[in-house]
Symmetry: C2
């Protein structure tokens, strides 16, 4: 480690900079960077999903959020100071260490313009990625086979999608759009790959012009004959030719989403005289609104995923002294039984007792814990099926729950149901509905420190925009065909965690006066909710009806797909309340 | 009229412009422009509160919103085309008439930068105000006596306020702030005047530096000895010296709120080399959060205002064939009986039957209508009391209401109560709570086309920011001490309107985990709600309790202030449901 640090400091000197910034995220802004891009882990050993390392000539520090302070302290050497970024800002620390006007080096491929806003009082200097210069045994970039996402799942030909995107590019007044997000590229071309864990994407950029012509920047060797034929007249170009190609847009107008495009691309455009049209990635909104075939596939994925969850819960009910890691393995085993299952859609969160209160808990050999009587067990997991992506959280009472467990679970459930039953006019954003899910907890002066819902892709990212249901406004209005999670929770640090998560689709419910359309949600996650945790006296008749109807549907859908023992178990588990 | 138009066209020619823009609003961006600033009314006769006149060499047009299309058509001559700005945009019309690149003249004192955004594809040319050049018998600018707002109502000395604002100016990194909003100036200096109707302001600007020194730009003749002494070391300067004074800030930093400051001021700063620090008017947030003495005065204003409303309702109950205008006169008569009453806080909205569905209805001799049996009557009115500003809407059944009237009224009431009872963590914005008030209407696929709540000043504007409760996010978080309205409604065009409006204060309710404060509302409007309009079967027990408790409080507060007949009336009117 010290060796790496001292070598990095030599590079600081060589580049004439006083500090270097290395964030955990990579140039794809992806949630799950491939091994070759885990630069922070290589440098200092920290394996968390978010954080920033700063190295100066005499100091090294890592800034992480509250989730990761303990983990970082354990993983990094004494050469690094560990800071909670909520308590100590990187900027203040930099100012303390180096005073005003110090030269701060950074890799412009790793930052969007917005991300650099907070450093604007510093003297920022573009550099090459200094970690990459040092990393001798760096793994190669992922180059998994690129395969077609069948039209029986995507529901729309790439040609049709390209037509719609080309219209949007025209409407934005641009000659072409640069697609920086791999999810957009994969959606547009109906392709997938396994370049990262949990999200079946091909890490690639593309350009699409106002005529619908696409250039895909990816190693040609990754494309077999079948995929080549699927791609039709798409031009395949080597990734390192992208910069040159962008320069050919000199004096032309290029649509660029500055929320996701790196400073590197922005600078390249400016230097080449490309006129940047700022706007949202033209694929994002189209991708978020699923077509009927996608919806059908997603619904089906949720049925088969519900089967896996019921098998897990039934199995769990018959066991004693089960550990968190055994559950993680078991739910994967049950999901794998379905032919369309590809991989988990994120690292399974299996938190028993106090671990349930850690929102992004991941069980390890060291942390692994036995599920104990009288405790709650929180299981948040999901699958990537070729027909759709799932994400479900259930909280289960192990043995007899306490009155407090039941009160909190019921408050969370009431919020979940309030959102599930909401009706709202077209044009409504998720932020306007977020309080519906929190209101019962708020009345008791408690809350949960995460959003209530995120968009979900179709055999793509389990977290996708532009819509969300959270305290923060500014995403897109909810529109029929979107998929979003409904996941209120409650967390008592050191004791337990509760979360009830279903995915829902946005649907048209009715048309009101002046032809105004009113939307609502249809729950598509199909798995039972633990009635042992419900204090029925706190529920209204409407809430009780909602739960009983939901369980009737779960029973109807899943029973034919279960074995005799599981059927019997489910029959009792979803008994009327 | 034609004469005015042809003279205006001569000025277009003289100024070398192809069109001239004259909006209804004035240089104070005030809701109630004084006579001298009613330029649109002088030019074409239109007296509505919002709109824009555009005159070219051959055409003249007025663009108004849906509220005013009929009124405008009636008031303006055939020389003007009347457009609903929602259907026809001014920009499109200008482009049609004049093509691209035409020179559009405007008075930079009447526009903020944001207001001009929509014209950015035109060739905008600053001019003097061409109406002012033509208007020979223009009334003089209002110059009412400036008087102190007593500390027994304001609750904080101007010196203390200036200290807080100076800190904010410093914190923003500015040398001084320009206060463009008269309400801010009046709040800061604890002064008032009667320059406009309904809002007791002195139309004046001020500068405050980071040391707390203030320059007030107002005619010295308006300040008597007493007010002079109240103002202490405030420097009084003639309004026309403002431009010169701003130029003395050359190379210094001036805090400017571009939401309210005109393009004229912005340009002046740029030309003089003044460095503009963009930020919110430093008085706005302080003004919105009322101190305990203000709250006490505001509460008291609402009690005496409730007395006036009860007297009105009791009187109304004993009459037949009463007209809207009679009610407008009567409520004013009852309010005037209180010594602290100064004037209405806005033009009373007294809408019977179909007039109730016109959100900003104002009864005139022509529109005046008798309150009829079987109809609803909507009365939205308020008072400027020296101790506070009120704003209340009640909807009253005249005779027997229909089942539909009752269903809609009860849905609106349920929303009103849901908001009144809401508990939410510090940091919550009104937009997060807005859906609570709409949810019961939404379930029936109906909605109302206005915000649910606006901030209210203390013996100042009846509409003030930065907080609001509406679909639109982006205001300030609700904070203890703020006053805001709670006014859901429902409007059936051509038939009836319903609105239930109380003012509430934001209060701390409780402290939760991690010392997180939870806020809620305390209703301060003190007047009965018409129980004849309630379908009790649609209410929950909690809602019934809320209403009964509210009515108990109304009875307790008001009974001692009523005569025997009114007491008896109130006793029955607020009977338990």
């Amino acid at each position: 480690m010290v060796n790496k640090l001292s070598k990095l400091r030599e590079l600081l000197d060589k580049n004439g900079i006083d500090a270097y910034l290395q964030p955990v995220h990579d140039e794809w802004m992806s949630e799950y960077p491939p091994a070759c891009n885990r630069r922070v882990e290589w440098l200092c050993g920290f394996s968390g999903s978010a954080g920033l390392v700063v190295v100066t000539a005499s100091k090294a520090a890592i800034f992480v959020d509250g989730r990761y302070t303990l983990q970082a302290a354990k993983q990094v050497s004494a050469d690094y100071e560990v800071f909670n970024s909520a308590d100590t800002s990187v900027q203040d620390w930099l100012f303390q260490q180096l005073g005003a006007g110090a030269k701060i080096g950074y890799d412009p491929k790793l930052y969007t313009k917005a991300m650099l806003e907070k450093f604007k009082s510093q003297n920022l200097i573009h550099t090459a990625n200094l970690i990459d210069e040092l990393w001798e045994d760096r793994p190669p970039a992922p180059a998994t086979k690129i395969f077609a996402h069948d039209i029986k799942y995507s529901g729309e030909s790439s040609q049709s999608k390209r037509g719609r995107v080309a219209e949007a590019v025209k409407k934005a007044g641009a000659d072409a759009a640069f697609l920086s997000a791999p999810e957009s590229v994969c959606w547009l071309l109906n392709i997938r790959a396994r370049d990262t864990e949990n999200t079946p994407v091909c890490l690639a950029n593309a350009l699409i012009d106002a005529g619908g012509n696409v250039q895909l920047y990816v190693d040609n060797a990754r494309i077999d004959e079948e995929t080549r034929s699927h791609l039709g007249d798409i031009k395949i170009l080597p990734p390192d030719s992208l910069s040159g190609e962008i320069c050919t847009f000199s004096q032309k107008k290029l649509l660029l989403d500055l929320q996701t495009a790196s400073v590197f691309i922005g600078n390249l455009c400016e230097e080449a005289g490309v006129k940047i049209v700022q706007g949202q990635d033209p694929c994002v909104l189209f991708k978020a609104v699923k077509n009927p075939i996608e919806i059908a596939g997603i619904r089906n994925s949720h049925i088969v995923d519900g089967v896996a969850v019921v098998k897990l819960l039934c199995w769990l009910g018959g066991q004693e002294n089960i550990s968190e890691l055994e559950v993680v393995d078991k739910i994967l085993e049950f999901r794998k039984r379905n032919d369309l299952f590809v991989e988990p859609s994120f690292d399974t969160i299996a938190g028993s007792g106090e671990h349930g209160a850690i929102v992004h808990y991941r069980a390890t050999q060291e942390s692994n814990r036995i599920l104990q009587q009288g405790e709650l067990f929180l299981l948040d997991s999901g699958g990537q099926y070729q027909s759709g992506t799932t994400d479900i959280t259930r909280t289960i009472a192990i043995g007899k729950p306490s009155a407090e467990h039941k009160k909190r679970f019921t408050q969370v459930l009431k919020g979940h149901i309030a959102l599930a039953m909401a009706i709202f006019p077209e044009g409504t954003q998720g932020s306007q509905l977020d309080a519906l899910a929190r209101q019962y907890l708020w009345r008791d002066a408690v809350d949960y420190d995460h959003g209530t819902g995120h968009g979900v892709g179709c055999f793509l990212g389990v977290h996708e925009g532009p819509q969300s249901i959270s305290k923060r406004a500014g995403g897109a209005a909810l529109a029929a065909g979107m998929v979003v999670s409904n996941e209120p929770g409650y967390y008592k640090a050191g004791e337990y965690g509760i979360r009830i998560e279903n995915l829902v689709t946005v649907v048209e419910k009715t048309t009101g006066e002046n032809s105004k359309k009113f939307l609502g949600f249809e729950t598509i996650t199909c798995a039972p909710i633990d009635v042992n945790l419900i204090d029925t006296s706190l529920l209204t008749e409407a809430e009780i009806n909602w739960l009983n109807n939901y369980h009737d549907w779960v029973k109807t859908e899943l029973t034919p797909l279960l074995d005799a023992q599981e059927r019997k178990w489910l029959e009792f588990y979803v008994r009327k309340i």
